[in-house]
Amino acid sequence: MKQMMFVLGALVWAATPAAAQKKPISKAKPVAKPAAAAIPAASLALGKTLYVQNCLSCHQADGGGVDRMNAPLTKTTWVLGDKTPLVKVLLNGMQGVEIDGERYANVMPAFDYLTDQQIADVLTYVRNSFGNKATAVKAAEVKAVRAANKK
């Protein structure tokens, strides 16, 4: 295990300079921003409706949450990072988890009664609102996390 970590670390270390070297090239020929184009407008609109119905009363209209009670959704690692733990927050609920150095007292209930598509839409909306910018969440991704979550 330790050896594997080392190998992984070495790979990351080896890959970093390569990426850094590539940067000036991509700068010379700017790549079209695929992230912005990949967010479906319909998903955002449906996501907003779902947010107002299910999330707004705790996380607030600006996504800023409530001091020490309800977690903020603005530029946190939970919202912008790996999608799997984020989907799991909706499927299982959450309490007492430290978010960027702060704890939030209130319980977040599970929203597992929302469909895969609804969870995908609301998360896509959250990941692209309140100053956030991140890739869309797809229903198939939610479905996969839900299937694994059942175990």
Binding site: S57, A61, D67, N70, Q95, R103, V107, P109
Partner: protein, 427 residues
Amino acid sequence: MKSTTSRYLLLATAVAGSLSLAALKNEDKIVADADNAGLTLPAGFGALKVADTGTRARHITVTPQGTIFVKLNRPTKEGQGILQLREGGTGKATVVAGFGNYGGTGIYSTKDYLYASSDEEVFRYKLNAKGEVTNPTQPEKVITGLLNRQQHESKSITLDQAGNIYVNVGAYANSCQVKDRQKGSMGRPNCPILDSAGGIWQFRADKLNQTYGDGTRYATGLRNVVGLDWNAKSNQLFVMQHGRDQLHDNFPELYDTKESAELPAECLYALNKGDNAGWPYTYFDPAKNKIMVSPEYGGDGKKVSTGSYLAPAMAYPAHTAPNALLFYTGTMFPEKYRNGAFIAFHGSWNRAPEPQKGYYVVFQPFENGKPSGPYEVFADNFAGTPEKANAGRPDHKPCGLAQGTDGSLYVTDDKAGSIYRIVYAKK
């Protein structure tokens, strides 16, 4: 030569000394800040910012000797969960000491002791004749092992005049649902939370290492109390309850968002030993002026409770979060304030999507130990602007209240850590 110099020095010192004495005399009433520290107040009142601590300043107490102690929600980087402040001649104070490496809310002082709470325990520190703590690193543990399950964790405290201490143990749930805050989830029968939380516990103030078995559940059916105070006039404990959240979120077919923003009232209760205020089975509807059955326990927004629960002594706007209660016994403020109650409303979040509300200190008139007549907003604009208040993004959140030795009113803020002092300028 030498002696002449020292004589001049002595003279200079004497002059300076008498000047500062004169200054102190003029300072008999502390001068308010030009902008009243950003607050709006009734005519004749002024306010100054005593200190900007930059901490999460929860409750505050002023000892009979005039020492200010503030309890912090979490300790500073230096491991100080209690700040001791000393005021200069102008009323501006500096932090002179810090101790108690634990976060919490409750703080209370007598002539001899400073009491402070973490979210599980209550400690006391011996005060000397100057009102300074003599054992900052070795407090006595008065109460231990109180339940803390993150939600409603504050252990607010107050003392009566018979050597008892009262502690809030908040319920670790919104409405005792099978699944907390889950849409449609019904209430747990015979709510088991009430065994060890959701009420006020009474202990002896001078006995050490007490826990549940040593105390008495003084009152139950109180979801969460952060502001409480002993009324010396009526010899009775008064508490402010934080009412339940999320009627619309959890039962959208019974309550729309507007109703959910206005229900239930934040209630003041006058407690007697053994009282039951009805949480989680009931809530108070201020428009109907009735104790209603909670939807988790078979209510539908219309069903009035037939249980024998304590009625509130007074009701205030929903979700505004009363975090401090103080009976005013001073003589600085005009007569009408004497023996009335000040209540600090921390401000709401659960009125969204309706505008948020609170972030002010209210005055509740009392007569013969009972609330009498409507409350009035006494100190407002902690938020900074009405827009910030409406958005639930205030600059300051009032959280603690204390009466100064001269009868001025201290207010803490756990958002930016400002300490305010409100004074009355005698005409």
